[in-house]
C-alpha cells in the first residue's frame, strides 16, 4: 500500500499503470485493518471496564444481568465476539499457511480451526441472545 501510493505520487510507470487485482487477499487485507481498528477500541474498552474499573471477582451474574438489561451492551459484546473470532481466525489462516506445508494436513487443520470458530460463534451468540437475567 505504502509502496503503491508512493509510486503513484512519483509517477512510477512500472507500478502505477498496473491495476491491483481485487481478489480475496485484498479484501482480507482491508478487513484485518478495519476490524483491527474497531477491535482496538472495543477490546481495550471492554478490558478496561471488566478488569480495571471492576475486579474480576465483581463481574458476577448480578453484574452481567444489570449490564445486559441494556441491549446496546449485548450488541457491543456480540460485535466483540463476531469481530474477534473473524479477525482471529483470519490471523490463524496466515499462521497455518506459513507453517503447515503439506496440502492434506493443511486442509484438515484448517477445517478443524474454522469448525471450532463457527461453533464458538454460534455458542457465544446463543449465550448473549438467550440470557433472560
Amino acid at each position: 500500500m505504502a509502496i503503491r501510493s508512493l509510486a503513484q505520487k512519483t509517477g512510477d510507470s512500472r507500478t502505477s499503470t498496473r491495476k491491483p487485482r481485487q481478489n480475496f487477499e485484498t479484501w482480507s487485507w482491508y478487513f484485518m485493518r478495519i476490524s483491527g481498528l474497531v477491535l482496538f477500541f472495543l477490546a481495550l474498552f471492554h478490558f478496561f471496564i471488566m478488569h480495571i474499573l471492576n475486579d474480576v471477582t465483581a463481574t458476577n451474574v448480578t453484574f452481567v444481568a444489570t449490564r445486559w438489561k441494556n441491549p446496546i451492551w449485548r450488541l457491543l459484546d456480540w460485535l466483540l465476539l463476531a469481530l474477534g473470532l473473524l479477525h482471529g481466525s483470519n490471523g490463524l489462516r496466515f499462521i497455518m499457511d506459513d507453517y503447515i506445508r503439506k496440502p492434506a494436513k493443511r486442509v484438515v487443520v484448517k477445517s478443524v480451526v474454522y469448525g471450532i470458530a463457527i461453533i464458538m460463534f454460534i455458542y457465544g451468540t446463543l449465550t448473549i441472545v438467550t440470557f433472560k437475567g
Binding site: 500500500m1 481495550l44 474480576v56 440470557f131
Partner: protein, 126 residues
C-alpha cells in the same frame, strides 16, 4: 560455513515486532475460546460465580495480567502496522514506532497489573 547457517536471517526490530504480534494474536484468540465457554455458564449462576471467584486466584490474576500485555501489545503494534501501510512516512520511523508501542504496552501492563493484583495482596478478595 554451510549454506544453511549462511542464510540465517537474524532479524531486526521489524521481525521481533512481527513475531510478538503473531504470538500475542494467537494467545488472545485462545483466550477468546475460553472466554466464550466461561460466559456460556451464565445460565447456571452458581457455576458462573464459582468460576469468577476462581479467577480471583493469584495465578489466574497473573494470567489476566498476561492477557493485558497480549492485548495491549497486539492492539498498539497493530496501529503501527496500519500507520506503516497507510502513511509512507511511518516506515522511516518504524523502529522508533516499535520501541514506542512496545514500551507503552509494557507501561499499561504494569499500571493495569498493579490494579489487577492489588486485591490479592490487600486480601480484599475471596
Amino acid at each position: 560455513m554451510s549454506p544453511k547457517s549462511a542464510t540465517i536471517y537474524k532479524g531486526k526490530t521489524g521481525q521481533w515486532a512481527f513475531v510478538l504480534h503473531r504470538i500475542t494474536g494467537f494467545l488472545v484468540f485462545m483466550f477468546i475460546l475460553l472466554h466464550v465457554v466461561d460466559i456460556s455458564t451464565i445460565n447456571s449462576p452458581h457455576v458462573y460465580d464459582a468460576i469468577h471467584r476462581l479467577y480471583g486466584n493469584v495465578f489466574l490474576r497473573l494470567f489476566e495480567v498476561g492477557l493485558l500485555f497480549g492485548l495491549t501489545y497486539h492492539a498498539l503494534n497493530g496501529l503501527r502496522v496500519i500507520m506503516i501501510d497507510f502513511f509512507p512516512g511511518a516506515i522511516k520511523n518504524e523502529k522508533q514506532l516499535f520501541y514506542f508501542m512496545f514500551s507503552l504496552s509494557l507501561l499499561l501492563t504494569v499500571i493495569g497489573g498493579v490494579i489487577i493484583l492489588r486485591p490479592f495482596f490487600t486480601g480484599s478478595t475471596h
